[in-house]
Amino acid sequence: MIGSRGERLLSNLVILASTLLGCFSFLYPFFLPNFQQTPSPAGIRLSEMPLTMTLVLGLCVIALLFESQQGASNARMVALMGVLVALNSVLRYIEVAIPGPGGFSPVFFLIILSGYLFGAKFGFLMGAMTLFVSAILTGGVGPWLPSQMFTAGWVGMSAAILSPLVVRLGWQQRRGEIVLLALFGFGWGLLYGAIMNLWSWPFITGPADQYWQPGISFAETIARYGVFYLATSLAWDLGRSLGNVLLIGLFGTATLRVLRRFRERFTFVYQPAEV
């Protein structure tokens, strides 16, 4: 048995490993040119890549969910998350029912703020569970679900990084905090689109090996993807990014205040006083 520090290290390692592997399974199209050169009958098998990737990604999501359950380690956090996920799912439903400008989606607002305030694991669960719950609510369970869960979870998880940053800069409850969060939301708005494209791109358009003609270099692949991204989804994703900025700018301060008011009540853990 290892001590609690070792445990924490291992736990973080599991999270890191699943994150990296998940990223890799998103980024595989960029490595395909190299696969192409293998002598095995891989050319045939490449059509299986999306499936394999979905499976691997599913595995990563499961591993991350396993480890992140510590973010909901008592009844309070479970109830809190249940309620926030419900709220966010309703927001997502509204987004589906009444499409706003571009990829505008109110779903990231709460994910970012809860990751920021309640930590990486909570943030991950918040993102992943929101997508999961809204998918089963709207009957939208599909092969895209693992990657959506993974990416949205990632948004929440990475928001936790801002917390120590803000503390170090001494920006708590100042305007700087909101500006930082808004910038973060802007960045993720674009990134989320880029990542989701990566997943759907080869799946919808066909075998990747036809797309990247043999001999294309890694850099060239990325350049092609850049063109593809600019042409197909930049405008759309900008809508999402600006939406995030708008929401955080308008409601960020008030929402943070409310969440902070409740944070103490939800996160406290009873420790018997020494007699």
Partner: protein
């Protein structure tokens, strides 16, 4: 058409297996003939109507909608992939993505891909319609108890939220607030958040009083965690081996080892969790029969995948169009997808006689 038979409801496991096998088929083949067979089978199950415990997502999903992706796929692929020998026409100039040869091969491949996507959409639609939300949550393994509870709470709370939203809207009116525009509407989000958080706190107290203990990570034992990391290492190793040009069977072997390891870990982790999951629905004989077809199909597909030399399902239109191979045996196996429908029909006859 199965108009006359008594309604029959299959266990959620049947639908899970059915969905899994069908997806496996679809992702393993790009042979258009086989895909057409699969599409037909799924379409029949789809048309047979609700065979689950609860029909939800009642919005009709017409069959033709699942086929609209076929021409779209063909068009998109033909315009963007410029490979193949039978040239339709050439797009001149230097437009990125578009310029180049437009070939029959690319169009066929795009259409096949579109068909695969259509089947996937249809399969999930059937799944969503036949498995109720509580059953779906009960499908989650025990190790995810906390998350299943999060899901259940969220599901239960969504309708309450709609009520609360209305209540807050009214409260605003009572207080003399006139709601204009999107900003006022979004402004209701804040009071909604406050009342939701208060609700969450009361809920948490109720859950605690009723014996709820959150499940921590089932990987609480460090050796389990270490094994988990090992599994990831194997997957990564598999990829790297392909990346560095090692033979395919090494990668396959590593992947399957990792899969076995993860399976064992889940089993071990599950045994540590002290909960029971109440599943009021029993698994009956009919469920057993209905699950048979898809199970057999996936087993054979996996076996075929392990020994890829046969390449039963493989087909690619490139570089030049050929007639796709069609083996009656394979087609017959694919009919396993029909088994829920067949069991429903025969069970219906039994109950009539």
């Amino acid at each position: 058409m199965p108009g006359g038979h008594a309604p029959i409801h299959f266990h959620p496991w049947v639908w899970l297996t059915w969905t899994g096998s069908t997806l496996l088929c679809v992702s393993l083949t790009r042979n258009p003939l086989y895909l057409v067979v699969v599409w037909l089978c799924v379409a029949i199950v789809h048309a047979a109507g609700g065979m689950g415990e609860l029909a939800r997502g009642s919005a009709p999903f017409p069959l033709w909608l699942s086929l609209t992706v076929v021409p779209l796929g063909a068009l998109f692929n033909a315009l963007t992939v410029h490979v193949g020998e039978n040239i339709l026409f050439v797009i001149p100039g230097a437009i990125p993505l578009l310029s180049g040869r437009v070939t029959w091969e690319a169009a066929l491949y795009g259409a096949t891909n579109g068909l695969a996507l259509g089947v996937i959409l249809l399969v999930f639609w059937v799944f969503n319609r036949n498995v109720s939300i509580p059953s779906f949550l009960r499908l989650l393994p025990r190790a995810f108890h906390s998350l299943a509870v999060v899901g259940s709470i969220a599901m239960t709370f969504v309708p309450c939220l709609q009520q609360q939203y209305q209540q807050i809207q009214e409260a605003q009116a009572i207080r003399g607030k006139q709601l204009r525009g999107i900003r006022d509407q979004l402004g209701l989000l804040l009071p909604l958040l406050v009342s939701s958080l208060e609700h969450a706190f009361q809920l948490a107290e109720v859950m605690t009083a009723r014996g709820f203990l959150a499940s921590l990570s089932p990987l609480t034992r460090s050796n389990l965690r270490a094994a988990f990391l090992g599994g990831f290492g194997l997957v990564l190793g598999g990829w790297l081996s392909r990346f560095w040009g090692l033979p395919g069977w090494i990668a396959s072997l590593l992947f399957w080892c990792a899969l076995a390891l993860f399976g064992a870990l889940f089993f071990l982790a599950m045994r540590q969790v002290r909960y029971t999951i109440y599943r009021p629905r029993r698994f009956g004989v009919r469920d057993g029969l209905a699950i048979g077809g898809p199970s057999l199909l996936s087993l054979l597909l996996v076996l075929n995948h392990l020994f890829p030399e046969r390449g039963l399902l493989a087909y690619t239109p490139y570089p030049a169009l050929t007639l796709p191979p069609f083996e009656p045996l394979v087609a017959f196996l694919l009919l396993g997808i029909l088994s829920p429908f067949l069991v429903a029909v025969f069970a219906g006859h039994d109950s009539l006689s």
